[in-house]
C-alpha cells in the first residue's frame, strides 16, 4: 500500500489546538511560540486525506493550517487561513488531495 509522509502545521496564538487525520487525533508538537506541528505517515490509496482542525482561543485570533508532503515528494498540499470565532472556537474539516 503506497504511503506518504505529510507535515501538518498550525500557526497562531491559540490556547489549544487539536488535529485529526482520517479521524485519528495526532500528537502535536509546539515550538513555544505560535507554531504547532505533527508529522504523520498516511495511506495514499484514496488519493486524499481527511483533516479536521479544532482551535480554542480568544475570539479574533488568526490561525493558518498548512499541510505539506515531505516524502517522497516535497510540496505544499493544503493551506487554509481563519480566525477564532466569537464562540472561542474554530472547527474545520476538509479533504486534502495528495496528488
Amino acid at each position: 500500500m503506497p504511503q506518504i509522509t505529510i507535515k501538518t502545521t498550525v500557526v497562531g496564538y491559540l490556547s489549544d489546538v487539536q488535529i485529526w487525520l482520517e479521524g485519528r487525533q495526532t500528537r502535536l508538537g509546539y515550538d513555544g511560540a505560535k507554531t504547532w506541528s505533527t508529522t504523520d505517515i498516511v495511506d495514499d490509496e484514496r488519493g486524499s486525506v481527511e483533516v479536521a482542525l479544532h482551535g480554542t482561543g480568544v475570539a479574533g485570533t488568526d490561525w493558518e493550517l498548512t499541510i505539506s508532503e515531505l516524502h517522497p515528494a516535497q510540496k505544499q498540499l493544503y493551506d487554509k487561513k481563519g480566525s477564532i470565532k466569537s464562540s472561542g472556537h474554530s472547527f474545520v474539516e476538509d479533504s486534502v488531495q495528495l496528488k
Partner: protein, 402 residues
C-alpha cells in the same frame, strides 16, 4: 532677493527630504518590529497577574517604575488519548539600580529581582472534546439555530447518540427522538442544509469542506491550572531616628519565597478569561511605611564664599516587618468584540487578609493588543486602587517569535 528665495527653497526641500528619510527609517524599523511581538502583559502596577496567555517570549517595561520583565511560556502541545504535556513558564523581572537594571550583579541576583516559574495542565476541570463530540455539538447547535431545540437536560443523551463516525439523516432523527425532540426528517434536512451541513438517508453527514464551523461549537469551556513558585530579592532604604546618627539611613535586604496555585477559565464565548490565584508568600510592610526625604547638608567656606553640598536620599520611616501571608488574586479579562479584540480590559482584585501587609486592592488595566493575536499586548495602562494608588504604563518589547 531672488537668491535668498532660492536658498530658502533648497533648504525647505532639503529639510523635507531629511524628514522623509527619517519617516522611511522609522517605517522600516516599525515594519521590522511588527512581525515579532510581545505577549502576555496583562499585569497590574506591581507585576501581578493570573492570566496565562500563550505566545512564547516577551519583554515588558513598566514605564512608571522602570521595572523590566522577561518571560517565556511554553505551551505543552496536544497529545493522544487525552494525555497532554504540561505547559511551563519562567519570568524574570528587575528594577533599576543606578543607571542600569541589574538582574544579576557579580553572579548574584541584583538588588531588586524576581523570578517565577510555573507548571500547569490544560483541561483540568473541563472536558477535552473529541472530533465526534465536536461534530455532534455542531449538529445540535445548527439545528437549534434553525429552531429545532433539544432540551438542555436531554442534550447529553442526544450528543451520546450522535457520537458516530458516519452519521446519516436516520441516525440524527433517532438521536433527537431519544432525547425527546421528535421532528420530521425533512425539517432536519432543511435546517442542516441552511447551516452548510449536507445530510440525507444514506450519505454520511458532510460539513461544507473548508468552512469554519466554530460559531456552532458552543458550551465547551476551556480551563487550565498551574503551580507557581517565586523568589523575590529586594533591597530597601530605611530611616530610623532611634539608632546612632551615622546609621539612621540604612539598607535592608529582603528575600521572599512564594507558592501559589493559579486557575484560568475561558468560558463559553471567546471574549473573556477568568483567572484566580491563591497561595502563600513572604511579604513585608515597606509599601505601608512613610516615604521621607533625608537631606545631609555640608557647608564649606572658602574666601568668604559659603558652599552647601546637599546629599538627598529617599527612604521609608517606620517599623519594617516581615511575615508569611495567605493571598488571593483575581482577574477578569474582557476583549470587547466592538474593537475586534484589539483592546483587552483587565479588572482585578488583590487581597492579603492577614499579616504585615494586610490589604484589599482592586484596579483596572486597559491594553492594546496585536491584530490577529489578542493575547499579545503591545502596551497598556493599569491603575491599582487601595492604599497608595499606583498607575503603571506598560510597553511591550517585541522579540522571539518570527
Amino acid at each position: 532677493m531672488k537668491g535668498n528665495r532660492l536658498t530658502e527653497f533648497h533648504r525647505t526641500r532639503w529639510r523635507n527630504r531629511v524628514l522623509l528619510g527619517v519617516a522611511v527609517v522609522l517605517c522600516a524599523l516599525a515594519a521590522m518590529i511588527a512581525p515579532v511581538q510581545a505577549q502576555s502583559l496583562l499585569v497590574d502596577a506591581k507585576g501581578e497577574g493570573t492570566a496565562f496567555l500563550y505566545g512564547g517570549s516577551f519583554a515588558q517595561v513598566n514605564v512608571s517604575d522602570s521595572t523590566i520583565r522577561l518571560g517565556y511560556l511554553r505551551n505543552g502541545g496536544s497529545g493522544k488519548n487525552g494525555k497532554r504535556k504540561p505547559f511551563s513558564g519562567i519570568e524574570l523581572s528587575g528594577k533599576p539600580s543606578g543607571d542600569s537594571v541589574l538582574l544579576f550583579q557579580n553572579g548574584t541576583p541584583g538588588s531588586n529581582f524576581q523570578v517565577r516559574a510555573s507548571r500547569g495542565w490544560k483541561y483540568w476541570g473541563t472536558h477535552e472534546p473529541d472530533v465526534l463530540e465536536l461534530r455532534g455539538t455542531i449538529l445540535l447547535n445548527a439545528l437549534g439555530k434553525a429552531g429545532i431545540k433539544v432540551r438542555p437536560r436531554s442534550r447529553n443523551a442526544a450528543l451520546d447518540a450522535l457520537r458516530k463516525d458516519r452519521l446519516c439523516l436516520v441516525d440524527i432523527r433517532d438521536a433527537l427522538k431519544s432525547a425527546g425532540t421528535d421532528v420530521d426528517p425533512d425539517q432536519i434536512q432543511a435546517a442542516l442544509h441552511k447551516a452548510d451541513i449536507e445530510v440525507n438517508q444514506t450519505t454520511p453527514v458532510s460539513l461544507k469542506p473548508g468552512e469554519d464551523f466554530g460559531d456552532y461549537v458552543q458550551n465547551m469551556p476551556y480551563d487550565q491550572v498551574a503551580f507557581q513558585l517565586g523568589y523575590t530579592r529586594a533591597q530597601y532604604q530605611l530611616y530610623s531616628e532611634s539608632v546612632p546618627f551615622g546609621q539612621q539611613v540604612y539598607k535592608r535586604d529582603f528575600d521572599g519565597l512564594s507558592g501559589s496555585i493559579v486557575y484560568n477559565l475561558l468560558p463559553s464565548g471567546g471574549h473573556s478569561l477568568w483567572g484566580v490565584a491563591a497561595g502563600l508568600k513572604r511579604s513585608n510592610n515597606f509599601d505601608n511605611l512613610t516615604e521621607v526625604e533625608v537631606r545631609d547638608i555640608s557647608t564649606v567656606v572658602d574666601n568668604g564664599i559659603e558652599r552647601q553640598v546637599v546629599r538627598v536620599r529617599k527612604a521609608r520611616r517606620g517599623d519594617f516587618k516581615e511575615s508569611t501571608d495567605f493571598f488571593t488574586n483575581g482577574d477578569y479579562v474582557w476583549w470587547p468584540s466592538r474593537f475586534d479584540s484589539r483592546i483587552a480590559m483587565d479588572i482585578f482584585v488583590r487581597t492579603t487578609p492577614g499579616g504585615v501587609d494586610t490589604h484589599v486592592r482592586a484596579g483596572l488595566g486597559v491594553f492594546l493588543t496585536e491584530k490577529g493575536a489578542p493575547t499579545r499586548a503591545i502596551g497598556g495602562l493599569s491603575v491599582l486602587f487601595g492604599g497608595e494608588t499606583k498607575v503603571a504604563l506598560f510597553a511591550g518589547i517585541p522579540f522571539g517569535a518570527p
